[in-house]
């Protein structure tokens, strides 16, 4: 149990050091930026689909 406690404290300390480091910061910022880009693409594709629907709705019955 003591070993496990030590391990999790050690893991948390290492994680904190990594997050504080320049490499950690850059990696997190990059991941956040990428996730925002995916969200933007997702919402953008919603808009594009809405436009396609408009054109479909205006199509005359043949």
């Amino acid at each position: 149990m003591a070993t496990l406690e030590k391990n999790i404290h050690e893991i948390a300390r290492e994680a904190r050091e990594w997050v504080s480091s320049e490499k950690g910061q850059k990696t997190i910022e990059k991941a956040l930026k990428e996730s925002k880009e995916v969200l933007s693409r997702l919402h953008q594709s919603s808009v594009n689909n809405a436009e396609k629907l408009k054109s479909l709705a205006s199509q005359k019955k043949q």
Binding site: I8, S35, L56
Partner: protein
Amino acid sequence: MSSNFKVLEYSIGKLKGILADNSKASIYLIESKIYIAYFEEYFDTLNARTIIVEYDYVDRDFLEDFAGYYVRCFPDYKRYCTRIHFFDRLFTEDNFKSLISAFKDSLLTENNLQNSYLGFIIVKPLPKTIIGRTCLRTYPKNDAGKDGERFFPIIRQYNVNLFGISLNVETLAFQEQDQVAAACATSALWTVFQGTGKKFQHSIPSPVKITEKAVQSFPWATRAFPSDGLTAEMMAQAIRDVGLEPFRPNPGDEYIRKATLYAYLRGQIPILLGFTICKVNDQYQLDHTIGGHAVAVTGFHLGSHIEPLMSSGFLLKASQMDKIYVHDDQVGPFSRMNFDKIKISSEDSSQIDSISTSWGSQRGDYRAVINLMLIPLYHKIRIPFEIIFDASMSFDSFIEILRTEGMIPFIEERLEWDIYLTTINNLKSDIFNTAELESELRLEILSYRLPHFIWRAAATHKGEKVLDLLFDATDVEQGQFFLRAIEYNQKLSKVLREISKVSSLEQTFQTTSEGKIIEWFKQQPND
């Protein structure tokens, strides 16, 4: 003495005969209806064995339509309906007579009838559209397995009194549009109000009242009756009229559409879905558009495959949704529409997402292109799903970076997220019944003050709960709408609490919604 009821062994032929005999519709017209094929399959699945036909039944919804329109017509329309009850147990008219005349040796009991009760259909005494209020048991529940699982979160109990015998059925009422007092949108709204009326405690207007109120604020619209349909604005007005707020999310992308449907349906809120029906050829090329249609979404099916979101790899439970169940007044209650990923190509070669319908004689040639989602919300539900989705997805990408960099080695696989609207009562009942929380935290959560409506983003790892993120659905977007986390995994909590105190992290997330989650972890002690 003529009897006010008849007991018959079920068959689709007998059902057609009863519909024809108790309406002004011909048997040929009835046989041409899409819902006949649907009822045949549905009652086979439910294993219907016996029918009780109850004559001269007074139905409140039809009576209001009758008083509002039919009574003033020159032809003589009857005001009484016929109610057909269905049972999955075989019994005779003599068995039933013995029960209601209290013969001691009756082979049939009230319990027998209740246990075998499948629900009822009201037959309206009209010439074309004859299916009135219909309450039928849902498809049988199945366990989650390789074939997935069905969910009907909107259903409620309908009580029935049949000659003094108490029966009930768990369902959501359905009815066919009569094209006079109501069009498809009115029928869909009527079904939606059956669910929201119970949940948010508002009165449930009849179809004629819905149509009347919907067009009231649109003086340039054509006459209300006979009704030839409602616009999206009119539907929104009808929702406002019962005291709810119409919320119209963008229905465009299929991933976000499924996620939105799932999130509100899990919150027991039925959704109005509008789409264009398209006739397509064998290669799914657009032949022509039939027109607009509206249905009420009342349930969904989750398959076994979870679909990662684009390059992010975000895993959302809602992506498992492969079918929705809708009350389609042209087809029947709980009719299936499949998310089968088939795209329609049109003249300009653009590919448009579509879902399957049960329209047409040849299955698959009529596709639906969704163009409207309208969600009737209690006015206090202010934070939309999209905000919670974006925050949860970005927070997940942060956790994923920690995982792939080896900072949380005890999390071996990507987290899976389940995001939905809930209430304080449902959340606390769920926590009360879970064994995954340690007693001190369980006590803290169960006695914690929370708002009535909550967004819950629950993360699991290899099927085990690791984290619940709770958001205040009643707050405003500019507010601190993140309430708290419920930390099931002590190791992950330890790391998140530790790293959230790094000042550069606060700076990175300071203006974002997910920053509110990081801020909460920062405020928790490290122990």
